[in-house]
Amino acid sequence: MSLTHAYRICDLALASNIPLPELTPAKVFAVECRFELLPPGNPSPGNFVWFHHWTFEEDNEEEEGAKKAWVHFARTGDGYLLRFPSCGDFFLSADAEKIQCRPLPGIPEVTVRHLFLDQVIPLVLSRREPIVLHASAVLTAHGVIAFAGKSGQGKSTLAASFVQKGCALVSDDCLVLRAEHGSWTALPSYPGVRLWPSTAEELLREDTHTADVAHYTIKRRVSDTDLLPFANSPAPMRKLFFLADDTSAVSIERLSPGRAFMALVEFAYNLDIQDAAFLRSQFEAVGQLTADVPAYAIHYPREFALLPAVRETILNHLEEDRDHDTE
């Protein structure tokens, strides 16, 4: 396997046999994860132990069993299989250091890259770091703030809005947090955000270059770091915001430790939910994060015209807390 392309994502040194133009090439001296795109083919036959699946979040079926699966998780003899029924298979070694993808015939490479970077890599990272959140994050003058929420709730829009006004992007939807010396640090993911066309039109210049995300979505990838600056180094984690209801006014509500814990668990990636040892370490880490980093629910109107007011409310909230901390 010729892995001629090297990158770094969330502090993970990655080598690939195909270019990953979404990432910034890096000099890597010790590869920690290897990705190989295999020739297309039909789903791999085999006796796999299916143990979990994700469903489409927009599926309105009430019965869990009736919901359509987005990805199935299985154990293989020497690792894991993530099967995206309409796209292909990703095979992961048990230590998640080796990943191979066999796409279904006709699946474009851009789709493979999207699934790899935005679905598989967060799960790979979850084997190495106890806290990997489905969250966007930006670096403000007061540290990193994160926005966690379900798909479509506005994480990327909020992050892009902050970045346009002087903050740096830390993550679009995979945020790795690491405990270091009694505090928490956010690790930068990779440059760029994925936005609905209407959001891109609203927030960005008309001539902004955007790229396809995947063949099955109209979302656009915006990777111009002149337009959306990227934080190139880890930074202190300051506050967590969980996106709540679409309301007429902006309000921020501090979450109790218990509510914050359960919210964090809901948005934490976990490759193997049956790995008791990992579950315990994640449980302890989430508990510590809850104790160390304040968490809030933010209710706000989902209207582009009101984004500046939402930003202002959040920044004022940070400023007030900073003043409080220094009293």
Binding site: G258, V265, L279, E284, T290
Partner: protein, 91 residues
Amino acid sequence: MTLNDNLRIPDGVATRKMGNETILLNLETGTYFGLDTVGSRFLELLERNGEIAVAHRTMLEEFDVKPEILEADLLRLSEAMRSKGLLEAVS
């Protein structure tokens, strides 16, 4: 389940107290469960003694609640937690 039952937290359940709340995790099933102030106090008393009746008597002194309402609430909570493998009966 009745007040005369004894309960314990089984091996394979992790717990974490955070202020007045408690989170439990069944490590075998991956099920999380959150307890508010009252639920946390109930669990704390069960961990000391195990007897639902003792917890019931103690909590009647600590909370402004009618005995029959507290009994129903504690039994309902006990059953909910037992069904998720977070509590088990002790003979």
